[in-house]
Symmetry: C2
Subunit: 561 residues, 2 copies
Amino acid sequence: VDADGVVTLTGDRYGLCGQKLPYLLPWVERTMGIAIPLTGLHTPHYPPAIPESRLPQSVAQALAQILAPEQILTEGVQRLRRGHGQTQEEMYAIKYGTLARVPDVVVLPHSEAQVVALMELAQRHDVCLLPYGGGTSVTEALRCRADEDRCIIAVDMAKMNRILWVDPINRMACIEAGAVGRHIQAALKSQGFTMGHEPDSIEFSTLGGWIATHASGMKRNKYGNIEELVLDMNVVTPKGVMSRQQVAPRESAGMDVRRAMFGSEGTLGIITQAVVKLYDLPAVQQYGSVIFPSFEDGVAFLYELTQKNVLPVSVRLVDNIQFQLSQALKGEKKGLQAFKSQAEKLFVTRIKGFDPERMVACTMVYEGSEEEVARQQKEVLALAAQHRGINGGPQNGERGYQLTFGIAYIRDFVMNHYLLAESFETSVPWSRVLERCDRVKRRVEREHAARKLPGRPLITARVTQMYATGVAVYFYFAYFFKGVADPSGTYSAIEAAAREEILAAGGSISHHHGVGALRRAFLPKIMSEAALTLRAETQRAFDPKGVLTANCQPNHKAAQH
Amino acid sequence: VDADGVVTLTGDRYGLCGQKLPYLLPWVERTMGIAIPLTGLHTPHYPPAIPESRLPQSVAQALAQILAPEQILTEGVQRLRRGHGQTQEEMYAIKYGTLARVPDVVVLPHSEAQVVALMELAQRHDVCLLPYGGGTSVTEALRCRADEDRCIIAVDMAKMNRILWVDPINRMACIEAGAVGRHIQAALKSQGFTMGHEPDSIEFSTLGGWIATHASGMKRNKYGNIEELVLDMNVVTPKGVMSRQQVAPRESAGMDVRRAMFGSEGTLGIITQAVVKLYDLPAVQQYGSVIFPSFEDGVAFLYELTQKNVLPVSVRLVDNIQFQLSQALKGEKKGLQAFKSQAEKLFVTRIKGFDPERMVACTMVYEGSEEEVARQQKEVLALAAQHRGINGGPQNGERGYQLTFGIAYIRDFVMNHYLLAESFETSVPWSRVLERCDRVKRRVEREHAARKLPGRPLITARVTQMYATGVAVYFYFAYFFKGVADPSGTYSAIEAAAREEILAAGGSISHHHGVGALRRAFLPKIMSEAALTLRAETQRAFDPKGVLTANCQPNHKAAQH
C-alpha cells in the first residue's frame, strides 16, 4: 500500500503480480464507514514466542531409528508452522500473540512403511501424532490442545507426494497423500488427464487433506466432490494399515470403513495414498458471466439451471457487496479498455436500469468440446435472459475466480490495517437461501452494533455450489478493529453468532471446511446424542490410546468419560 | 409347462401373463445337451418342517406391552418367510429340505418409537433382532445361524411404509424404510416425481433394504446409486436413535456415522426412515437396442460411450448365450410379426454376416425431453455404427429388460425340472472385462466337467452398469441336476470357485448384492487384516451385546475372540 492508499499486488501466482488496485481501499472505507490508517500500522511480530519442544530423549532416539536426520525438524518456526492453520484466530495469534502449544518435533516420512513405524512408535511411547498436509485448515484442526501433556509429533506428508501409477485405460491414478493440488494437476495434465478437483486451496492443499476434510472443488458439477473422486485409499491407523487388494469401480462389500476417513480430520489414521478417478482434459475451457438486477433474480436463475441440469462445470453467484468488491479490485484502466468498461457500466445501469447498489453477478466456467461449450453457453444465456440477466462476458467471469484465489492474500495484509476478515460457509436447501443470507447479514450487523465496534461490518455472500436439493453459501465477514480490546475473540464471537443463525434454520455446520476444534461445540445442535456417541466410539475403535487426539478433537475424550 | 414342453407364463406383473413360450425348453435342451423331464418332476414340498418357536414367555409378555396382538406373528410359515432370502441354497432348502433355524416370532412395528422399544427389549432380554425388508436378499443375510441359542425376533418393516413428506421445492422426500420400491415409485409419480432408483428387485425390495445392501438401480447413469440418492436417515441402534436435526444438500461435519449404514446388512441398526432426492418425471422414456457381431465389439462400444459421457439412463450388454435366451423367450409369432422377425434375422445374419453363435445385444433406456432423447439416440447409434453395431429397435430393448424381471420366476419353476440356476455379480476395471467373463465361464465349465455332472452348464454374462473406471458384470449359471447327490451344495461349490476366479484378477466381491453370510469367507481376500478388525470393532461399538448378529454376521464374533 503506498501513501495514496493504492494497493499493489505482489508475489501471488495468478498473474496479478505488480497490478495496482487504486479503487480498493477507497471502496472499503466508503462501504465500512471507516478511515483506514496508512501509518501507525498494526505491525505483526512474526514469529511469535514459540513454546519449547518437550521431545523426550527416548522418543528422539526412537525417531532416529526410523528416519534420517533431515527428516526430523526441531526448529521452533518449523514446529510452529505445523501447529496452526489459516483461521483468523490462528493468523492473529501468530502475528500478534502466541500459540500455547505447538508440535514438539516435525517428521517428514518418505514411505508408508515409515508412517507405520511412526504409528507404532507413538503407541509404544504414548505420544501423539498430528498429520499435516498443506496447512490450509480453516477449522483449527491443526491447533494443539494447550493441555496436551504428551509429546506431539507433527507428521508432515510433504515428502510423500509421488504419483505412484497412472492407468490410462481404466482412468485411475494412485497418488501419495502428501501430493499438493497444483502438482497433481500439472503432473496429470502432462499425461492428458485431470482429476477435476479444484478447491480454492489447490495451491497448497493435499490429496490426504482433501479426504480428511471432505473437500469440495469448484468443478464438482462435472467431476464430483472428493468422496466421488476417490476409489480407494490406504490409511495407517493405530490398528494397522487399512488397505484393499483391488480397486473396484463400485462395490457392495458390507460396511466400508474407508468411508469413515472422509471428514475424519486426522483423528482416525494417516492417509498415505489414494486411488482417484481421471478424466480427459477438456478441449475447451471458457469463462463467462451474467449480471442480474438482484440477488433474488440470480438465485431464481441458479435454481432453474440446476433443475434443468444444464449446469456448467462451475457456477457462482456473488451478492451486490461482493460484486462491488470485484469491481474495486480492478486495476488501472487505460485507453480503450477504460472506455469499454465505462460504456458497459452505462449500458447496465442507464439503459437496463440496474441499480448499482442491488445488482449482482454470476460467474461460470464452461468445459468440454467446442460444440458442448457453445451449446452450454447458449442454454445458460437463454435461461439467464428469462431472469433479466445480461451477458457480462468472459473477462468478468475470470476476474471473479481470481478474486477467490487472491482473497487469502488480501486478508493477510489488511490485518496490518486493523481489518480482520474471515470466511465461513454452509449448505442450505434452496427454499431457504435468501432468508439464510439475509438473516446472517442482519445478525452480524446486530452483533457488530451491540458491541459498539467502529464503522460498519462488511458481510457478503456467494453461492458457490448447486445441488438439486440446495446450495453451498460462502460468507465473508470483515470488521475494523482499531481500538477494540480483543479483536480476534470479538470476531470469533460474532462468527459463532452467525453460525447459530445458520443452524437455527436448517443450514449445515459446514459444506466443505469441516468442524475441527472451531465448530465442535455446535455438533450437539446438528445430531442426536446417539450419533455423537457412535462417532466417539468409532473413533475409539480406531484409536483406543488416543494417539491422534492432539488437535483438540473432543470425541475421544467424550467417549472415555 | 404342457406335455409338449411349451411354457406358459402365469401370474407375473410385467404384462407377460398367459404368454406361451414354445422355444424356451427346446433351446435350453439344445444348449445344455440335456433332455428336460416333463414328468417325474422334482416336486417341492413347501412348506418344509419348521423349527418350533423358542419365544420365552417373558419376551412374549414384553412384546405384548409394546405391540398390538396383530403386530405379533408366531405361525410357522410366517416365521419361515422372514428367515430366508432368495439364494438358490435357501430356495432349494425350503422346497426340498429344511432350515435349521428361523425366527421365533415376527413383529411388525408401526413407528420408530416401537422400533426403539423393541431395541430396548432386545438388550434387556438378551434376544436378537433380525431386520426384514422385502425378503429379496441374495446373500443369506436373513438366514439365522443354526447355533444361535438366543430368541430371534424378526422385525418386519412392512407397516412402516409411509411417505412422511414431500418437499417439491428442495426435491426431497422423507420415506419410511419399509416402503417397497414399486409403491414409492407409484406414490412419487402421482406427485410428478421419481427417485430414479430401480433395482431389478423393485417389485419387493424396500428403501431400508436398499441402504443396508448398498444397492444399485438400473438408471444410475442419471440418478446415481443408493448412496448418492440418500441425503439423511434415521437409524435405531443399540446405542439409541442416530438422527440429524436438519438435512443438508452436502456437508463436511466430521466423520459421518450414517455412511456406515450403506452395506451394513442389518448389523448396525434398524433403518426407520430416510430422506431421498427427487427428480422430475422424464417427459419421454424410450427403449432401444443395438446388435453387435461379438461381445468384444459390444464392450468396445460401451467403453467409448462411457468415456464420451453420452450414456443413456440405462445401458446393458448381454453375451451371445443371453441373447439367444432372450430370443428363446419370445412368444408365438403370427402373421406379419413373424414375417418381420424372420426378415430381421435374415438381414442380420445373411446380409451383415453376423454369426448367430457370436452376436450379442445391447439394450438401452433413454430418458429426458423429446429433444434430449432424440439427441442421445442419434449419438448412441452413431457410436454403435463405428463398432459394427446395427439398430435392433425399441422392442428388443424392452424385451431385454422384461427378461431381467421375469428371470427370478423362471428360476423358481425350472427347479422342478431339475434345473438349478442363480446369478452372481461383480465389478471389474474396463481392461479386464473380457478376460474376466471368459475366465469365469471356463472355470465353471471345468468345475462342471470335473464333477461329471450331466450335460453342459449354462453360463452367461451381462454388463449392467458402466463407470468411467470399469463395469458391473452379472452372471447367470444353471446346471441340470437330475441324479446329482447334493444339487444345491454342488452349485454353491461351483459358484465359490467362480468367485475365486473373479477375485484372483481384480474383480470385486460384489457390485451391489453384498456379502451376507454367503461370501464372508472371501473378505480376507479383499481387505487387510486391519480393515477387517476395524469393521468388527466398529460393529461392536454400535452393538456391544450382539443384538443384531443372528444373521450369521461374523464380524462381531471375530472381534470378541
